[in-house]
Symmetry: C2
Subunit: 372 residues, 2 copies
């Protein structure tokens, strides 16, 4: 049971009764209508402009728009600082390949994003976990890890953190950046869940203004994972190097997909879609938390928005056997060990608010509790 | 002047008068109409099935269709042996990351595909060039390189070879596979230009039946580079490992793009498009060869089909200065050194038959000849 196990389970078309462990929204929650509108618009145009490689850094009008979106979060950004990618995953992969050499120590959230762990290990990096707290990374532990391992990079997911669902606080953000400054650390801020948050949550890039933060986001969690359109924003020199690396490893991204998302972001419906999505998620979230608590689980921290609920049963040391049993019954749970750099045992489970509708989930959890 | 120089020059929107050095067809030669038809069809369907991640190995109906296409080339192949990728480039990148470790010796065509050289070097591979002849790889040199460097992999582009435009002959294919067998070499066969060839040219995978050959192709040269839809075919166990690697490094490919290409391949127009394309290319090719010879260049080998013409001027040692001068006049040439593993000097230039319409190209070549 490892990262690949979870990815395969989640993405292979296996007959699951329920997938509360999945990391994304069900298809019908996403913006299928928006994609259809974009397809229609694009279909009306002459297709000959859809046959070229497009520009290395991405579809120019989209880059202008994305720079504006980044600006709207209080991060000064020009279009030349934007590089489009195949989802946030390619952004992370490019950044890793630029900054990480085999044997390097790399800081990651513990718990954190398992796919990132997978390809950092692929690059031969030594993963060093920074404990995640209800306020964000544990700054004390961060400093200690920096002094001990002399890492060059820290990958962190700051808003509606995967898997805990918690937001970084402004105070912790400031402290993390102080340490990064003092120890010359590059920070890669993964913000793929940001659009699911209401208000303007704290972001490292908003304090740092892309000095030593590389900002990464995508539309895979709000519009369509199938489009695979993501982007990164960073200092121009770094954006140039990452564009070269993108050229070498994948030439360009799909301009068709980038025109589709551009259409969708400019036809005026995206904001409404997000508002609907947040409201629906908030409702599902409250209900899931109730059901989890009723089933005897303790929730890590009540949060208003987002996908993830981090929960455990008192007295459990390691939730992995429970997940294995659930899998055998067609219920896909995400055990905490999967979200730890070395898959260390964890009592926690990650639940997806949008994937907790099926009563079988809670029946299973209660039954497991009773015969535990 | 290196690989990145050529890629940047070719893909950045710079005001070129002519780009005879480009590696692809002009947009209006591609299947823009087909893409438009596909967009229309897709736009009619409910969009909610366009929001998920899709399957790790690719859109299933497309995999079935691609397996059939591979079968049509005399290569026994089941859909489970097919993995879709973001163009052939991602296929090559995944295969390299699976098979190549830093310091490994890797065999490549000399001259060969420069983007491949770029990311093999990125992986820390030692590139060992296998001289390319008018029949394909030089088998004698191949054996000598194998004995000297003990490589595990040989990347070769066999049909309408980039940059020489030549096809591998059946006899050489057989000999290469004998050597691969004897020395336990994996061969990665890049066939991205195959659809531009008439008849059924020799392919390594057709002789070897995917035993030790990994077959790679895409639609970037015939339909749209912008779609970024490619695929690989290989032994099932390898396909499984490559799918895992694809999951870890990019999750899935764009199911929207894969549905677009599936539509396009099944609506019955693709074959006609290819026939028109081949005929148009043949005509442009003959004319380009005439003009090059009139401008005093010698063509490596007359070939009927395909994009590339490999040519040089007698007495030239190194075409790079000529390309630099051309660039300063807005003409993008591709000097032979770019296609050599260590960018060794070369008298040759790669011309793109579809990019040779502009008389300025030949005026420049003649002028350069006179004051040379």
């Amino acid at each position: 049971m490892d990262v690949l196990w979870l990815l395969r389970n989640a993405l292979q078309e296996q007959p699951h009764i329920a997938m509360p462990g999945a990391g994304w929204l069900p298809g019908e929650w996403m913006d299928g209508a928006g994609i259809q509108r974009s397809l229609r618009t694009l279909a009306r145009k002459d297709g000959s402009h859809l046959t070229g490689y497009g520009m290395p850094a991405g579809y120019q009008p989209l880059r202008v728009l994305l720079a504006q979106r980044v600006e709207d979060q209080g991060i000064a950004c020009s279009p030349r600082q934007i590089v489009t990618t195949r989802g946030a995953t390619q952004a992370m992969d490019l950044i890793s390949r630029l900054l990480v050499r085999p044997g390097d120590a790399v800081l990651v959230d513990d718990p954190g994003y398992y796919t990132l762990f997978g390809y950092l290990k692929l690059l031969g990096a030594r993963l060093v976990g920074v404990p995640w707290t209800t306020q964000g990374p544990d700054a004390g532990a961060l400093e200690q890890r920096i002094l001990e391992h002399r890492p060059k990079v820290f990958f962190t997911n700051t808003v509606l953190h995967n898997p805990t669902g918690v937001n970084l606080t402004p105070a912790v953000a400031h402290r993390v950046l102080q340490l990064a400054e003092r120890h010359d650390l590059v920070i890669v801020e993964d913000d793929i869940y940001g659009d699911l948050a209401s208000g303007l949550p704290a972001r490292l890039a908003a304090l740092d203004q892309l000095e030593r933060v590389i900002y990464v986001s995508s539309f895979s969690k709000t519009v369509s994972a199938s489009l695979r359109v993501g982007y990164l924003a960073c200092r121009y020199e770094i954006a140039e190097s990452l564009t070269d690396l993108k050229l070498l490893t994948s030439l360009t991204t799909s301009e068709i997909d980038e025109r589709l998302i551009y259409q969708l972001l400019t036809d005026g419906y995206y904001r409404k879609h997000l508002e609907k999505l947040r409201a629906r998620l908030r409702k599902a979230r409250a209900e899931a938390v109730r059901n989890l608590e009723r089933a005897g689980l303790e929730v890590y921290r009540e949060a208003e928005d987002g996908l993830f609920i981090w929960a455990r049963r008192d007295g459990t040391e390691n939730a992995t056997p429970l997940a294995a049993e659930a899998a055998s019954q067609g219920i896909m749970l995400a055990p905490g060990a999967l979200f730890r750099p070395q898959q260390e045992a964890s009592p926690w489970l990650r639940f997806n608010a949008a994937g907790c509708a099926h009563p079988a989930i809670f029946r299973f959890l209660e039954a497991a509790a009773s015969h535990a």
